[in-house]
């Protein structure tokens, strides 16, 4: 499903070139549960961004669902993000002026889904994550764990093929963190691929496949 070949990502900082990703070769099948671990600056977030089409590799080829991605236009990449990829961030990235339900509706709103369908689907997803009773609350009225669950609802409401989570528990207490990981694993059990970038060994070890990165290179992959 995801196939990276000789992916290179270079940044220019001043007159220095930093090789954030060096010759990455990686294949992830549909429905896999993968954790990416490594020290800060090892390139794991950059790898996640490349997989999530937020970042463009400097060279190499990326195939998603048998489609070559690297040559696509900005708009085409936006459309793929919309329908195939769900993002979960460390700081949740909920819009503070919208209610939980409106935040969940946001991707469908951008996709032009009819309001009625939107509300139904958002409520269904919130229900399945057990926070329907908080649907009318704004993010500042929710706990961190609740906020992250709203963010998961938003990431999954478009039925993406893959969920990309960047330190999903990094800003949560242990209990909420475990809760969030359980939810993500349940979604993975329903068929969505799950890729988690984390510092936390406990979180990382739960994945079925482990990838370690150091200095922009994959040093270990099951």
């Amino acid at each position: 499903m995801i196939e990276l070949q000789a992916i290179q990502r270079d940044f220019n900082v001043g007159d220095q070139t930093i090789h954030a990703l060096q010759q990455i070769n990686l294949t992830i099948s549909q429905g896999e549960y993968v954790s990416i671990m490594g020290p800060s600056g090892s390139g794991k977030s950059t790898l996640l961004n490349v997989i999530g089409l937020l970042d463009r590799p400097s060279s190499g080829t990326y195939t998603l669902d048998q489609a070559e991605i690297t040559a696509l236009s900005d708009d085409e990449r936006a459309d793929i993000r919309q329908h195939k990829i769900g993002f979960i961030f460390q700081f949740f990235q909920l819009l503070p002026r919208l209610t939980a339900q409106e935040n969940v509706e946001l991707p469908m709103l951008l996709a032009g889904t009819a309001p009625f369908v939107r509300q139904q689907r958002a409520r269904k997803v919130l229900q399945s994550l057990d926070i329907l009773d908080r649907a009318g609350h704004r993010p500042d009225q929710l706990s961190g764990g609740q906020q992250q669950r709203v963010a998961i609802a938003r990431a999954t409401v478009m039925q993406p093929k893959v969920i990309l989570a960047d330190e999903p528990t990094g800003n949560l207490d242990r209990h909420s963190g475990r809760e969030v990981i359980r939810i993500l694993e349940r979604l993975n059990g329903e068929g969505m691929s799950l890729i988690v970038v984390t510092h936390d060994p406990e979180v990382g070890q739960r994945a079925k496949r482990h990838i370690r990165m150091i200095d922009g290179k994959i040093t270990h992959s099951d």
């Binding site: 937020l54 002026r97 032009g112």
Partner: protein, 400 residues
């Protein structure tokens, strides 16, 4: 694709979320627009006021004055001397096609006595058609009769102020007064015309031209005023006057001034005034525009991570651009409307407080300022919005 209704809702929510900022942005534009509307309506009001002062005598007037403003190489002696303008000239001018009335005019100052009261006033020597030409109304009696211009009867018509000074509430009709020592019979009084550019036309007495020539010991009139028919070709009439003067005087030794020319010159001067006042308003509009630019730039900076999120959720660049542009358009549009309302209301209020200050709402300058406000608002919105749309989603998301 994002539905229009949702698009507008997103924008409105963003505006409501940043109420203070939105309010300040609108204020910037509103102040600018209000200033333009108010200043130009004052400018336009003064413009109209001055023009109406001039046009109250009608616009189909041509003035003929003796002498010609030309420079010649050497003294031309007796051959260069100009012929005076006479009542005969005026009589001849009456025969030109499309000429309605001709008034040979003399003006002077004399003592006027009635019933032991005495007052120095302006004496105008005019013809019978004077009220028609200068749009005066007779309030009582009648104006000077159409006598033989060379031997008119000793009749006088009193201006409004002079009549009140000499006769008070009594009727002067049929009474005899002395003007510069000669006896005149009052046959009419005029309605008030007010002061016109410093000349008090009401503190005056009107007598036949021929008699004023004798009174002031002159053999020529000071000016001949000519009224032509509405819609007649002014150029043709001026041509005919020139031809007639050359035939009678042997050369063109008069200066012809049309009311139209004077109005055009006056109009162009007044346009500069309105424009200058409008430019002052324009500066405040520009300042408002800079204010909007500052605020929207800060807004984009503050909402970088929001833009990153939109991008991660699959929003296209053009959608981000449209969202921020829509915000700017709504804010500048609303600000424009508020400014317009304040400006118009301010104009009305000004008129109430200072009735003497003429204001006039100028559609041209107002629409110009509203268009300008929208352009400024859009430019101020476009620059940060373009910046927002160009943001790399990763960088945008990282901004906290």
């Amino acid at each position: 694709m994002l539905k229009l209704r949702d698009f507008i809702r997103l924008i409105v929510m963003a505006i409501f979320c940043h109420r203070l900022r939105a309010f300040l942005t609108m204020l910037c534009i509103a102040i600018g627009i209000a200033a333009v509307v108010l200043l130009t309506s004052i400018g336009e009001g003064i413009h109209r006021f001055v023009l109406s002062e001039f046009t109250q005598f009608g616009t189909n007037l041509i003035g003929i004055n003796p002498g010609r403003a030309t420079t010649v190489g050497a003294s031309v002696g007796v051959f260069g001397a100009e012929r005076p303008l006479t009542i005969d000239d005026a009589e001849a001018l009456k025969r030109i096609a499309n000429v309605e009335a001709v008034i040979p005019m003399v003006q002077g100052n004399a003592e006027i006595k009635a019933f032991g009261k005495s007052r120095r006033s302006t004496v105008y020597g005019v013809g019978a058609e004077f009220p028609t030409v200068f749009t005066f109304n007779v309030s009582a009696g009648r104006f000077l009769p159409d006598d033989d211009p060379l031997a008119p009867r000793a009749y006088a018509v009193l201006g409004y102020t002079l009549k009140n000074e000499l006769f008070g509430t009594k009727s002067p009709l049929g009474q005899y007064i002395r003007i510069g020592g000669s006896r005149y019979r009052v046959i009419g009084t005029l309605e008030s015309k007010g002061q016109v550019l410093g000349f008090d036309l009401d503190d005056a007495v009107y007598i036949p031209t021929q008699r004023s020539l004798a009174m002031f010991n002159r053999d020529s009139v000071m000016e001949i005023d000519l009224l032509y028919k509405e819609g007649a070709n002014q150029q043709q009439i001026v041509g005919a006057i020139e031809k007639l003067i050359i035939a009678r005087h042997g050369k063109m030794d008069v200066t012809i001034t049309t009311q139209q020319q004077m109005l055009e010159i006056l109009g162009s001067i007044l346009n500069v005034l309105t424009f200058a006042v409008g430019a002052l308003g324009g500066i405040s509009l520009l300042v408002g525009g800079v204010g909007i630019l500052t605020i929207t730039t800060i807004a984009v900076r503050e909402r970088t991570s929001e833009i990153g999120l939109y991008r991660a959720l699959g929003a296209r660049r053009i959608q981000i651009l449209a969202l921020f542009l829509g915000e700017a358009a709504i804010l500048s549009g609303l600000g424009g409307v508020i400014g317009l309302a304040v400006g118009l209301l301010g104009g009305q209020l000004l008129q109430l407080i200072f009735p003497a200050l003429p204001t006039h709402f100028s559609l041209f300058f107002t629409s110009l300022s509203v268009i300008l406000a929208i352009i400024i608002g859009l430019i101020a919105g476009v620059l940060p919005a373009m910046h927002a749309a160009q943001l790399d989603p990763v960088t945008a998301l990282r901004a906290e």
